[in-house]
């Protein structure tokens, strides 16, 4: 069977799955979420699962990762496990507001003590009912189901996720740490849908941690819409550490109004497939939009980052820097686009992708893409693919440092440029440690799991 018919089968499987569960989904979610399903259904039927013929997915065989036998759970907390007992955060010094998410759903027993007044953190499903004004204004407004079958699929099956609202002028000092946990007794498909709304002049720091706590197959399709009102300042750090059997497709949409500033930093430590799609629409003048990523792959992992930075308004700056270290048979892809509309004069837009290949079999595809319709702009892009610098290696070894340790120092030095962009010091230190252990091949996938998977 060729891959076309595979995708076709897979598409029908999803359509059937939806038809079987539509009643349940619609009766257990708020009407403001359900409103989006009919169009998402039509769009999915039209678009299906993207194939490598789709320019954006050219290097990622999505269908290979999505097919297979999976269960789907729609109800929250099918078993009321005590997550807090089995999961302990590995960042003990990190003083954060912790929000646990289980298999895509907001964990029933999250306690959010003493959040500053007016700040809302709750399940998405709950928010669709309790905060309809905010919800209606933003939900589904940035992620267009007509653009990508996987976005349509997420919207179709959207059930829960995290909802965060920061009122105008409010600053949360402590980071909000959203821990996404996959935990089950069988293979699972997970859909997660998040919405983050930051009011004008507000400021927040959000950390997402993706974990699998069991050695089952998980395919996750997660989508986060983030609205930054004027002068808002949002920093999003994401740590991806899932098992080799897991496939994770994430979509993050940033919608930025005047003078807002967004920094996203994605550290891909481990996973079978990791595909991150970043979209930013600079919808007001004077915005700053930074997108950084560090990914490390070995074995047969595939890690792909896709960006689309849309400079719709003048005087905005965007920076993209993605760095990858690939070993063994790992493959990676960077597919980045800067779009500058004809009104977006004085745009500064930079994009860079650097990669370190450690083995002859590791492969990286890097495809920058500029589409510029304004004339007074400064844009640049560049990609490098190289191996460890032999001169630097010799310099280190000539001081008595072993080849292994010298490699470690140089890999770490390569990675550090990204880690250094993280502003929370304890988080940065923790990530330094995780990356160091990852590069030594010592990172245990289940280091914070207190249950034993057979």
């Amino acid at each position: 069977m060729d891959s076309e018919s595979h995708t076709y089968e897979l598409k029908n499987e999803f359509i059937k799955l939806y038809q079987q569960n539509a009643d349940f989904l619609n009766s257990n979610s708020g009407p403001l979420m359900n409103e989006f399903r009919p169009k998402a259904f039509d769009d999915f039927v039209k678009l299906g699962i993207p194939t490598t013929k789709n320019e954006a997915y050219k290097y990622t065989h999505i269908e290979e990762y999505l097919k297979g036998n999976y269960e789907v759970e729609f109800s929250v907390d099918p078993f009321r496990i005590n997550l807090k007992e089995i999961f302990k955060c590995d960042i003990p010094d990190l003083d954060t507001y912790v929000v646990l998410m289980l298999n895509g759903s907001y964990y029933y027993d999250n306690q959010m003590p003493s959040l500053p007044d007016g700040i809302i953190v709750c399940g998405l499903n709950e928010a669709s009912v309790r905060y309809p004004e905010i919800f209606r204004m933003h939900y589904g407004k940035y992620a267009d189901t007509a653009t990508d079958g996987l976005i349509a699929l997420n919207t179709l099956f959207a059930y829960d996720g995290v909802f965060i609202y920061i009122p105008d002028k409010m600053t949360i000092e402590k980071p909000l740490q959203i821990i996404n946990i996959s935990y089950s007794f069988r293979n699972l498909r997970i859909t997660r849908r998040n919405l983050i709304v930051a009011g004008s002049g507000s400021s927040c720091n959000i950390v997402f941690c993706d974990h699998t706590l069991c050695a089952h197959n998980y395919t996750t399709n997660s989508l986060t819409e983030i609205f930054a009102a004027q002068d808002a300042n949002i920093e999003v750090t994401r740590i991806q550490n899932e098992n080799s059997l897991s496939s994770h497709i994430s979509h993050t949409f940033f919608h930025q109004e005047e003078r807002s500033s967004v920094t996203s930093n994605t550290i891909s430590l481990h996973g079978g497939l990791i595909r991150n799609n970043f979209f930013a629409r600079l919808n007001g003048t004077g915005c700053e939009s930074n997108h950084y990523g560090l990914f490390m792959g070995d074995d047969n992992q595939h890690i792909a980052n896709f960006t689309y930075i849309n400079h719709a308004m003048p005087n905005c700056t965007s920076n993209q820097l993605f760095k990858g270290i690939l070993d063994e048979n790992a493959t990676g892809a960077f597919n980045g686009k800067i779009y500058v509309s004809k009104d977006a004069q004085k745009t500064l837009a930079y994009q860079k992708n650097s990669n370190l290949l450690l083995s002859p079999a590791a492969r990286m595809n890097s495809k920058p893409h500029l589409e510029i319709y304004a004339d007074d702009v400064k844009c640049s892009h560049g990609a490098t693919i190289g191996s460890i610098d032999a001169e630097a290696m010799f310099y280190l070894r000539s001081r008595g440092i072993t080849e292994k340790e010298a490699r470690q120092l140089l890999m770490y030095a390569f990675a550090y440029e990204i880690i250094n962009k993280i502003n929370i010091e304890v988080l940065r230190d923790r990530i330094i440690d995780l990356v160091d252990r990852r590069l030594r091949g010592e990172l245990s996938r289940c280091n914070n799991c207190h249950i034993h998977c057979q």
């Binding site: 610098d389 032999a390 001169e391 630097a392 010799f394 310099y395 280190l396 070894r397 000539s398 001081r399 008595g400 440092i401 072993t402 080849e403 340790e405 010298a406 120092l409 140089l410 770490y412 030095a413 390569f414 990675a415 550090y416 440029e417």
Partner: protein, 249 residues
């Protein structure tokens, strides 16, 4: 300490060092001089273990062991040090981390415990002072954005940190102003004992006013064509290399 016999070195099949014999004993200082391109750096790098240089013939023993069989790190851990003519910039590797790793790897090799954080910092400070390396430089990445002179000082600093038995200093004096030259030479002299030895590669007699060699060798077209006492450097300073070229050709 170091015995080189009939050493031939090639790169990409091209022979650069064409039969060198040299013996360096503990307590001695040797100077190697010679025109550009004569093979001084090639010899130095090959002794330190740079793989791109192929040893096509000859033997080298270091403290009685076959040097040529050792990895670069083992040569260093057995007490060999190369001060690079062109020190490499390594963005992202901090000087502190670099030195800590180097010191502790060498200690591990000798069966010693890693240095405690405070002992390490003490050592760093002491050696910084010795060679006049500004403390702010040790907070930066290895050689990154260092001036030419700062890079050379940093080489001497590393030498002081690692206290090798045999140091080969490849044009550590070039790019240094007079004051820096004195500081660096002073550093070398202070580190000198009857148990260690130094090979200085230089183009200038000036350095040899401060680091007084026991022997001066002239390397020309891959061969040592003249060896003599320190007075040879003065002759070279005055007459250049032409008379030697005439003599050998």
């Amino acid at each position: 300490m170091l015995v080189i016999k009939d050493l031939h070195i090639a790169i990409d099949g091209k022979e650069i060092i064409k039969g060198i014999n040299l013996e360096v004993n503990a307590g001695e200082i040797h100077a190697i001089m010679g025109p550009n391109g004569s093979g001084k750096s090639t010899l130095a790098s090959a002794l330190a273990g740079r793989e791109i240089f192929e040893i096509t013939k000859g033997t080298v023993t270091f403290k009685g062991e076959n040097l040529l069989e050792m990895s670069p790190e083992d040569r260093a851990r057995k007490g060999l040090f190369l001060g690079f003519q062109y020190p490499v910039e390594i963005p992202g590797v901090s000087m502190v981390n670099f030195m800590k790793t180097a010191i502790n790897e060498q200690r591990k090799f000798k069966g010693l415990e890693p240095l405690s954080a405070s002992d390490f910092l003490k050592l760093m400070r002491e050696k910084q002072e010795l060679v006049g390396l500004h403390a702010k430089l040790t907070n930066r990445s290895v050689n990154e954005g260092f001036s030419g002179g700062e890079k050379k000082r940093n080489e001497i600093f590393q030498m002081a940190m690692l206290s090798p038995d045999l140091a080969i200093l490849d044009e550590t004096d070039s790019g240094l102003d007079i004051d820096a030259l004195k500081v660096v030479a002073n550093g070398v002299n202070k580190l000198r004992t009857k148990n260690n030895a130094t090979i200085v590669i230089t183009h200038y007699q000036r350095l040899l006013d401060y680091i007084v060699p026991d022997y001066v060798h002239v390397l020309y077209k891959g061969k040592i064509v003249k060896s003599s006492g320190k007075e040879l450097a003065l002759v070279l300073e005055e007459k250049g290399y032409d008379w030697i070229k005439d003599e050998t050709e």
